[in-house]
Symmetry: C2
Subunit: 597 residues, 2 copies
């Protein structure tokens, strides 16, 4: 057994005069007045080590050869720092270690970028040398926080008698949903496994197996074109329960979040979280995942302006659309016509045809459309929008979905730019009463808004065929600071209802049987009422850690083209490997490859 | 919020006269003297429910329609059972619930097999209806135990400041080791990811990232032909540390096992575990994973018989082989010549040419070879093998590896058949000092016995090129009751040594660079000394749960042909999916498919 090792970051004044053995990385070396100072770093933090020729000339000479990121072992004695060299910013700042021996465990070339807290190096270079980037303190802290959040969630669920269970990664491909990653089978010629997009069906089967309370930190895969906040593989906290109502599931989730926020951030969350119906979220925030850390709410003024003298308003309402507005409090004089023109350009990204505006200045509504807004209409607007001197009112009149999208985005933009967001707040929110189906205008058919196993509201089952657009789901999303961090639903547990759902979604009996026959059969053997929730854990950690890049929360992330810059995956494989899988590249790929050679 | 639900298995005498609401599955229904009795089951256990027409005729009538595996909700009152109907085998056996209301939450068809504790149904049928098989109590208990073992390990490692971290599943294919499962890339035409056979390289990179203590319950994949105790995907408890010696890693692992055995089985393990060098394990047990719950050790008698009058012994030693024996205590009269002939047939499976034997009976060694064994040779054997009246001695004289394999297998067979194994014991054992390389006689080259990142013993580095067969590794296996449940090593952390290792393994510089260039580069930037261990978690759970089939410990396992009988994965996919991946089936597969149609 080797001698006891002292962690660098934990050396304290109480240890003065004690001998210690340190192991770690050289963060920095300074030579000063015949002495050498090394900032030595390990997983716990940093401590200053001094080499003095009067203590050991041999150690000093070795220390002279040491460079940044060398790995060393140091023996020495803890001493107090001179008062004028105390570093109040460092936990170990009142002490240093006077070294009498050092050995170099491993050398390091000069790192390709500085390993300081805030790096300005390109992300590409940092991903190639990920093992160096990860040594930086902000990333070390992020993964410690990720660990803590993981354990807080586990601890809560274990106490609630949930069982952690592992579902298969080599599963069956289903065309519904996003694109699958496929895994060719060697044994079954011409057949493929799929990597799971989520353990949805397996967690339902676990309920049908009578376990009642399941969870898993589940790796999920989607072969989609990546955006900044997407990764081809991601982790979700997957939870499923039997015999619980929607309210019980929301309550359980809230208590879990309470525990995480307490353990990880020291924050006491108030529960229950606010709950917003989907329709209200869209109407009030123009978003199904509103950031409620600030106001600037949308106000639907259609009723007030339906007979407006301003034709744009009137005809929007007449053609079944909506007119909504936001009151940008006290900003009338801050926004010039040019500024407003820029906002108009911005809402056009979301297909809005324009942005109407009014300013309340000198006791009256001003602006190009003010002449159309008079009498009752004006006073109703004043009261609905709580208009006061100096307010700027922005209107979009359009198809309802365009109004929501554009004003919702504008709200978010203004909230940020006007500094209305308190970054220290964590605002959780439930969005409930989701539509069961979404209509795809291009394909002219309905799709499952959540997934085809989502339970409709009992009273809306009759609408599934007659008015599918009106049917609501027993589904809920958990929103945090404007991010969707989780979602779930009660599931269909009755065979007849599941058959009907597939029918409405346009499956023939044979297609439903071919793809989900095993599930339909399982529903016939005493499937319990069940439901659950899945949290997007990477994104949740990102918000907890105050990061804005999802890649910062994933240990070895992939780029937007799904490459690993460190290992250079994916890569070509041998013809022998392909042949064993009964595959070859298709003509186009072959031609392109030989063209490249 | 719905009314509080009472779990069936927890109903107790203290609740008599209390009203309860139960939800669960009908385990059994009996109609008796105008009453109906239902055994109601949920995740916690079973309770008896009674329907009496005098309490509620309506409830009784509904109960009449209820069948096995129906899901029901029952309201009633806890009452004491008549003394003569108390069931002492059931935790709830002193009480029953007098129902006044029942509603059927879901029906069930008659299950295709009886859901009783010991099922004699074919495994094939049980895997197809896995969700029914999993409702059986022994499997419910196995997955509760798996959960407990998981949490015990986590709890230990969290306390030791390990961070749980997630490594990628979409990684780079490396030809070394077993066969990879490949995942075609859509974005990178003609390129593939591989699913990890283990997170080996990533856990080393985590050490190079300065995290020092990492663990993960890691899903691993091997596309190998399956045996009874193999699965295409399996879970390993993956642990890696920096700056720890081999002894420290073994000690840490022992304390972890102590905690698991205490938490899960209530057993106090003694530590340190016995440690056997690989060579000694082979010599004494004929196995690198000996079951030490019984004796029957092999004794190498080569020295004693090297000039034996029995030519088979003499020539085995002369040609560099070995003669070893086991003393089957007191069994001389139990084994007839015919019985011994059967044992001889058995050792021939392991390439032994024969099995020589002696019996000590009536104060002398008897048997066909006894006439050759006289004087000093006989007395030395008596003393080395501790021969007493009634003992049966079995010899194999052959190439050393054949002696070990055959006698090792024979030892295991006899130990089992003679009832020498105490099934209640959990015997942990370390096997250390493994060879660094294994020689493949067919390919006439050395392979890494563990993997190419294993650290050689410092003093054996010079042997790597000159006598690779003699070089030992700083590697260790953890053995439990004759199963290898884990293995690990210190890793190479010096670039030059890793280069040399690849060279000895026959990699050209270009091949090493192409496959492991990123790792070799990482070694140049301050890689710390590191090492770790990985536990085969499925197998460990199997032993803890007293099961013999690995599939019993995996929720949704695959068959020997890597199929899921429940979901029918793998399955064919659409031409469109293949085309997006730039692939087509090769000619042979296409021909076979069209031939089938």
């Amino acid at each position: 057994m080797s001698e006891h090792r002292q962690l660098c970051g934990y050396v304290r004044e109480s240890q003065i005069e004690e001998r210690v053995k340190l192991k770690g990385w050289v963060q920095k070396r300074r030579d000063l007045g015949g002495l050498i100072f090394i900032d030595l770093r390990d997983r716990s933090g940093v401590v200053q080590v001094v080499f003095n020729p009067e203590v050991s000339n041999e150690a000093l000479q070795t220390a002279e050869n040491v460079r940044t990121e060398y790995v060393v072992e140091i023996d020495g004695k803890v001493i107090a720092r001179d008062e004028n060299t105390v570093n109040a910013n460092l936990a170990t700042g009142k002490v240093e270690v006077m070294a009498d021996a050092i050995s170099i465990l491993n050398k390091s070339k000069n790192p390709p970028f500085l390993l300081q807290d805030e790096s300005e190096t390109s992300e590409e270079l940092r991903l190639k040398y990920r093992y160096l980037d990860l040594r930086r303190s902000p990333l070390q802290e992020t993964f410690k926080l990720r660990h803590q959040a993981t354990q807080a969630i586990r601890s809560y669920l274990n106490n609630e008698e949930f069982l952690e269970m592992e579902t298969p990664m080599l599963t069956k491909s289903t065309p519904e949903g996003a694109r699958d990653y496929l895994v060719p089978s060697r044994v079954h010629e011409g057949e493929f496994y799929a990597l799971p997009q989520s353990p949805q069906i397996f967690k339902q089967l676990i309920m049908m197996s009578g376990f009642e309370r399941y969870y898993q930190f589940a790796r999920c895969f989607r072969d989609e074109d990546l955006r900044a906040d997407r990764q081809p593989e991601f982790t979700q906290v997957d939870i499923e329960t039997s015999f619980m109502s929607q309210d019980e599931i929301l309550d359980m989730t809230e208590r879990m979040m309470k525990k995480v926020m307490k353990d990880v951030k020291g924050i006491e969350l108030e529960t229950p979280f606010p709950r917003l119906k989907y329709d209200d979220a869209m109407e009030r925030y123009g978003s199904d995942k509103p950031d409620t850390r600030f106001g600037l709410e949308l106000v639907n003024v259609s009723e007030v302006v339906k007979e407006s003298g301003f034709k744009v308003f009137r005809s929007a309402v007449e053609s079944g659309g909506t007119v909504s507005a936001i009151n940008v409090k006290g900003q009338a004089s801050e926004f010039s016509r040019k500024d407003i023109d820029k906002l108009t350009e911005y809402v056009k990204i979301y297909d809005a045809k324009g942005l109407a505006w009014l300013k309340e200045q000198e006791g009256e509504l001003q602006g190009p459309i003010s002449k159309f807004i008079e009498g009752d209409e004006a006073s109703s607007l004043r009261s609905m929008l709580d208009i006061e001197e100096g307010d700027l009112i922005l209107f979009v009149a359009d198809k309802t979905s365009v109004v929501h999208d554009s004003l919702g985005a504008l709200r978010q933009k203004l909230g940020k730019e006007l500094g209305l967001i308190d970054e220290s707040q964590f605002n959780f929110l439930w969005v409930t009463d989701w539509p069961l189906f979404e209509y795809d205008e291009d394909l002219e058919r309905y799709f499952a808004a959540h997934h085809p196993f989502t339970m409709p509201e009992r009273e809306d089952i009759s609408k599934m065929e007659s008015q599918p657009g009106e049917a609501r789901a027993q589904a809920y999303d958990l929103v945090l600071n404007g991010y969707e961090i989780g979602g779930g639903s009660l599931r269909i547990y009755e065979k007849e209802l599941q058959d009907k759902m597939f029918e409405v979604l346009g499956f023939t009996k044979e297609e439903a049987q071919d793809q989900f026959g095993f599930l339909l059969e399982a529903l016939e053997y005493g499937a319990p009422p069940h439901g659950g929730i899945a949290l997007g854990f990477d994104r949740f950690v990102m918000i907890l850690a105050g990061r804005t890049n999802l890649r910062d929360t994933i240990l070895f992330p992939k780029t937007a083209s799904a490459s690993c810059l460190l290992t250079e995956a994916p890569d070509s494989v041998s013809d022998e490997q392909l042949n064993e899988l009964h595959l070859e590249l298709n003509e186009k790929a072959k031609n392109r490859q030989s063209g490249q050679e």
